[in-house]
C-alpha cells in the first residue's frame, strides 16, 4: 500500500531521482515490516529444525571415545550392509512412488471429473484410511497377504494357485503395504491441482478438433504435472524415512534406512553413529529435491513454451 501511495504522490513528478529514492525507502520499510512479521516463524524454524540438525551433524563427527573422527561415516563403506540398506531404501521409494502414480493418477483424474457431491463421497474413501493408524493398516495387510491369509486362501480354494504366493514378509509385501499408505499423499495434491485446470482450455481444444485422447495428452496432462510433481515429491521423501510398514511387512529381509537408524542408535554408545545416518539421508534427500526442482523447472518451461 505504501508503495502505491508513494508512487501516486510522485507520479509524473519532475524530480525522477527523488521519486526513486522515496520508492526505494518505502520498499525497504515494507521489507523490514514483512521480516518482522515473519520473524516468529523464522525463529521457530531455526530453533526446532536448523539448530537440532546442526547439532546432529556436530554429533556425527565424534566417535565412541568422544574424539573427532570420520568413523561414523567410514562405517558405511566398511560394512556392506549399510550400502545394501541404502540401495534398498531408494529401490523401495522409487517403486512405491511409481506404483502410487500408476494407481493414484487415474483415481485423481476420475475424482476430478465426477460431480462435486460424488467426488466428495469418493474422497472420503481416500481419506478414511488416512486417519487409521499405520500400524493397524499394516497388520491388516499382513492378515490379507500372508501364507495362510485371505488372498492365498481364496486363490487356493478357487484352484487358481497350487502353492501360496509369497506376498508378505518380503519385498512385495513392503511395496504393497507402503503403496496403500502413501496413496492419499499423492492423490490429494494431484486432485487439488486437477480441479484448478480450466475446463475452457479443454473445451477450446475439443473445439479446435482435438480428439478426447489428444486433449488429455496435450492439455490436461501437462497442466496436471505441477500437482503430480508435488505428490511425487511428498511420497518419495516420506518413503525414504518410512519405518513401521517395512519393519512388519519385510520379514526382516527388507531393511530400510530408518530401521537401520534405530538399530545403530541402540547398538553404539555414541549418538554420532545414528546421527551420521540421519545426516546422510538428509543430504541425499535434499540433493534429490534439488534435482527434482531443476528437472521440473525445465519441464514447466517446456509446457509454457509449447503453449
Amino acid at each position: 500500500m505504501s508503495i502505491v501511495s508513494a508512487s501516486l504522490d510522485h507520479a509524473g513528478g519532475p524530480d525522477g531521482a527523488l521519486n526513486g529514492d522515496a520508492l526505494n525507502a518505502d520498499a525497504r520499510r515494507e521489507a523490514r515490516g514483512l521480516f518482522a512479521l515473519l520473524s516468529p516463524g523464522l525463529f521457530l524454524v531455526f530453533a526446532v529444525i536448523i539448530v537440532p540438525i546442526g547439532w546432529l551433524f556436530w554429533l556425527s563427527l565424534f566417535d565412541e571415545s568422544g574424539q573427532l573422527s570420520a568413523a561414523n561415516y567410514a562405517r558405511f563403506f566398511e560394512q556392506a550392509s549399510y550400502i545394501k540398506t541404502f540401495v534398498t531404501t531408494f529401490k523401495v521409494a522409487f517403486i512405491v512412488t511409481g506404483a502410487c502414480v500408476l494407481f493414484g493418477y487415474p483415481l485423481a483424474y476420475m475424482l476430478s471429473q465426477l460431480p462435486r457431491r460424488a467426488a466428495s463421497i469418493c474422497l472420503i474413501f481416500v481419506i478414511l484410511p488416512f486417519w487409521t493408524s499405520v500400524l493397524v493398516r499394516t497388520y491388516a495387510w499382513l492378515v490379507i497377504l500372508q501364507r495362510k491369509g485371505l488372498v492365498n486362501t481364496w486363490l487356493m480354494d478357487l484352484g487358481v494357485i497350487g502353492q501360496p504366493l509369497p506376498l508378505a514378509n518380503n519385498f512385495a509385501g513392503v511395496v504393497i503395504g507402503m503403496t496403500h499408505i502413501m496413496l492419499p499423499f499423492l492423490v490429494l495434491p494431484l486432485y487439488a491441482s486437477m480441479k484448478t485446470i480450466d475446463v475452457d482450455c479443454l473445451r477450446a481444444g475439443m473445439n479446435l478438433g482435438a480428439s478426447p485422447a489428444a486433449t488429455f495428452r496435450q492439455i490436461f496432462f501437462p497442466l496436471s504435472l505441477p500437482g503430480l510433481a508435488s505428490g511425487v515429491v511428498i511420497v518419495f521423501v516420506l518413503c525414504l524415512g518410512f519405518f513401521v510398514t517395512p519393519a512388519l511387512m519385510g520379514g526382516g529381509k527388507v531393511i530400510m534406512w530408518a530401521m537401520r537408524m534405530e538399530q545403530t542408535t541402540s547398538l553404539y554408545s555414541n549418538w554420532g553413529a545414528g546421527a551420521a545416518l540421519g545426516v546422510v539421508l538428509l543430504a541425499v534427500t535434499l540433493a534429490l529435491l534439488g534435482l527434482f526442482h531443476w528437472l521440473l523447472g525445465a519441464r514447466a518451461t517446456g509446457v509454457w513454451s509449447r503453449r
Binding site: R147, N169, G251, G252, K253, S266, L267
Partner: protein, 346 residues
C-alpha cells in the same frame, strides 16, 4: 555453632524418624520395565508388595532399553529410579558408566548367579530362547534340537529366527554346529556366522520383536522358529498347535539398575533389595513364564511343585540350557552385530 547443632539435631531426628516409622508415603520412586503382560506380572510380584512393605509409592513407566537410559543420563534428565534392561545392555551401560553403584549391604545377593551380580547391576529374571514348531505340520516329530532346525532336508518347512537379537541367533547357531551347551561360551563368532550362513537361504523371516515372532508362528507363516519362552507359553495356552521345550534353550537374563543421577537412590536401593529377595522373586512365576533370577525362590515353598518344571530358571531346566554371558557380549556385541547384519542382508 548453634546452627550446626541445629542441623545435627535435624539429621538425627530425620534418621530416628526413618528408623522408627516406615518411610512416608510421600516417598515415590519410578520404575521402568518392558510393559505388557511382563510388567503387569512384575507389578503383582514385585512392585505392589514392595510399595506396601516400604510404605512408598512406586510409579511405573516403560522403557525401550539402554538408549533410553543413555539419553536420560547423558542429557541430565534422569526420571527413573530403577529400570530393567537386558543383561548385555547392563554390561554395556556399566562400561559407559551410566548406573549408580549398588550397595550389597542393602541388597542380599545370595542365590543369584554371580555372573549376574555386579557393582552397578543385578539380575532380576530369566527369559529363554527356545525352539518352537507347529504340531499340525510335524506332529510330535518336529525339530527338537538346533541341528534339526538347521537340517532342511529332514525337516522341510518355513523358518524364522531373530534378526534383531544377534546374540541369541549366534548362540543357537553355535548349538546347531553341535557344540555342547557348556562350550558355547565364549562364542566362536566367525564359526557361528558360518553356521548362520548355512541356514540363511531357508529363513523366511527374521523377526525383530517378540510379538512378531509369536504372530509368525500363530498364523502359520512359519512352521518353526526361535522364540522367547514367554511368548511360546502364551501361544500354547491360547490353544495354538505348537510344541517347545527347554532343551538347548538359551537363557538370557534381565537385570535392574539405578540410573546415574537418580534422585531417590536410597529408596530405590531398598526397593531393589526387595525385588531380588527370594520371597518376592518366588511370586514372579505365579504370573508369567519368566523365571526368577534368585534360585532361592524355589526353596520358599511358594511355587507349586507342578509349576516348577515349567519354569525356565528351575535348577532342572537350567541344566538343559546355555546361559548367555553378558560380559562376553559387552565386548563383542557391536562387531558381531555388524557382521551378522552384513550376512543376513546379503
Amino acid at each position: 555453632m548453634t546452627k550446626r547443632l541445629c542441623i545435627h539435631g535435624l539429621v538425627a531426628a530425620g534418621l530416628l524418624a526413618s528408623v522408627a516409622v516406615p518411610a512416608s508415603a510421600a516417598d515415590t520412586i519410578t520404575v521402568a520395565s518392558w510393559g505388557g503382560t511382563y510388567q503387569e506380572a512384575e507389578t503383582k510380584a514385585f512392585f505392589d508388595p514392595t510399595a506396601k512393605d516400604l510404605g512408598i509409592t512406586i510409579k511405573q513407566d516403560t522403557t525401550n532399553g539402554l538408549d533410553d537410559v543413555r539419553l536420560q543420563v547423558t542429557g541430565n534428565a534422569v526420571k527413573w529410579d530403577i529400570t530393567e534392561l537386558g543383561a548385555d545392555e547392563c554390561a554395556r551401560g556399566s562400561k559407559e558408566g551410566l548406573f549408580e553403584k549398588l550397595d550389597y549391604n542393602v541388597i542380599d545377593k545370595s542365590g543369584i548367579n554371580p555372573k549376574l551380580v555386579h557393582d552397578d547391576w543385578v539380575g532380576i529374571s530369566y527369559t529363554s530362547v527356545v525352539l518352537i514348531y507347529r504340531t499340525d505340520v510335524f506332529g510330535d516329530k518336529g525339530p527338537k534340537t538346533w541341528a534339526d532346525f538347521w537340517d532342511v532336508q529332514k525337516f522341510p518347512g518355513r523358518r524364522a529366527l531373530s534378526g534383531s537379537q544377534a546374540t541369541e541367533t549366534l548362540s543357537v547357531a553355535a548349538l546347531a554346529k553341535g557344540i555342547p551347551i557348556d562350550k558355547v561360551y565364549p562364542v566362536d563368532i566367525d564359526g557361528a556366522l558360518q553356521s548362520v550362513d548355512k541356514v540363511k537361504g531357508h529363513i523366511d523371516a527374521w523377526w525383530t520383536s517378540g510379538a512378531q515372532a509369536m504372530q509368525l508362528v500363530k498364523d502359520g507363516e512359519v512352521d518353526m522358529a526361535s522364540i522367547w519362552n514367554g511368548r511360546a507359553g502364551t501361544l500354547k495356552k491360547s490353544g495354538a498347535p505348537v510344541s517347545f521345550s527347554f532343551d538347548q534353550g538359551v537363557l538370557t537374563a534381565d537385570c535392574m539398575v539405578i540410573p546415574k543421577g537418580s534422585k531417590n537412590k536410597d529408596i530405590a536401593m531398598k526397593a531393589l533389595a526387595k525385588f531380588v529377595s527370594p520371597d518376592l522373586q518366588a511370586n514372579l512365576p505365579l504370573y508369567v513364564d519368566n523365571g526368577p533370577a534368585n534360585e532361592k525362590a524355589f526353596e520358599t515353598g511358594k511355587i507349586p511343585p507342578e509349576r516348577i518344571k515349567d519354569i525356565n530358571s528351575a535348577p532342572e531346566n537350567v541344566k538343559k540350557q546355555v546361559l548367555q554371558d553378558p560380559a562376553f557380549w559387552r565386548d563383542t556385541l557391536v562387531e558381531a552385530t555388524e557382521k551378522f547384519n552384513n550376512l543376513i542382508q546379503q
